[in-house]
Symmetry: C2
Subunit: 212 residues, 2 copies
């Protein structure tokens, strides 16, 4: 598993001349980092007298952020596996028509899966950004910059996953599927951009007002 | 060292109720990930017949990206150390005027350092984004989405580091230093946003044109 590697050796593997892990796994990792930072802000808020009023909310947000972190973490490997399956399909023999048909079907199936993994990452990003916004607005003011970084990592995850959906859609023939998923990507991206802007405004406002 | 931990245990430490590592270290990590992805695109371009014309450029870009990755990686720990020094300074005794003066000076000094580390991350991000843009424009077209994710991670690193500069500037009294560094942050952020837009346009254009 990629996440059992040290950070250094993960980075080495990323930089290497092997195409996986690549941008898709990085998007999932960025999501996991963003969720972890939201959890940290929850943990730095829970138990503080000053924030007793939001303790229940923070505990709920923490549980959700940890759930999303787990999902993002699993998708770091899932994206690389999906990519490898596409490569495997391209490597199938194509010496006669029967083989060619089998190979095409395998490529199509693997590419659809490789499209759906980053699309799932994108959806989780939107859920996680709602939590980042919550901790930016209601969490420990001393950690408001961390809430902002959380939202930035989640938005980068969402935008990065979108590029991976798109590059995979490009090699699919099924125009109905492509149009459907392209629309989905467009609307999720719009939401992510909007949520990031809102959260960054909350953060900027707190950085000014509280002088934290 | 944080980067000697596994990805999973780094994420666990991030999510924990300890304020460091936090957003500052994450910004540096995001920079390292972005630089590593640019290196990957170089490595997937070098040695390919189709890209023989840019081989020299890609080798130079790879060397620079790897140099920046090393610097970003070192700054993951440096940011956490700088934060811990601020906390240590706040923990100094303040029972008499002499102690108070010493404590104030120590806090000021540590906070300045904690401001300069993320500011350095921001500057490295601009250098790295120029490389990401180069590989998006000239690197292997099959990896153009990775070049895009590289730019996204570097921009998130830059914006995230900026929040860490700002939150530290907020607790400094030296108005001249604060104004100077705030200006610097503003102009680097503008550059980062512009470079990201340019790179994302190159990526979108290639995703359309090449049908890669």
């Amino acid at each position: 598993m990629l996440v059992q590697k040290t950070v250094t050796s993960f980075l080495n593997e990323l930089a290497s001349n092997s195409p996986a892990p690549g941008g898709g796994s990085v998007a999932a990792l960025s999501g996991a980092i963003g969720a972890a930072l939201t959890s940290m802000v929850c943990n730095l808020t829970i138990g503080k007298k000053k924030y007793a009023g939001v303790e229940g909310d923070m505990k709920k947000t923490l549980a959700q952020a940890e759930g999303l972190r787990e999902q993002f973490t699993a998708m770091i490997d899932r994206d690389t596996e999906a990519f490898n399956r596409v490569m495997d399909a391209y490597g199938l023999p194509k010496e006669n028509d029967a083989q060619k048909a089998l190979r095409s079907a395998a490529i199509r199936e693997a590419t659809r899966e490789a499209t759906l993994v980053p699309l799932e990452v994108m959806k989780h990003c939107i859920d996680a950004m709602a939590l980042a916004q919550d901790v930016a607005a209601n969490g420990n003011a001393h950690s408001v910059s961390d809430a902002g970084v959380s939202a930035l990592m989640l938005n980068a995850a969402c935008q990065g996953a979108a590029l991976n959906v798109k590059i995979n859609l490009n090699s699919l023939d099924d125009q109905e599927f492509v149009a459907w998923k392209s629309d989905e990507v467009g609307s999720i991206l719009k939401t992510s951009t909007m949520m990031l802007e809102e959260t960054m405004e909350i953060v900027a406002d707190k950085l000014k007002k509280d002088g934290v």
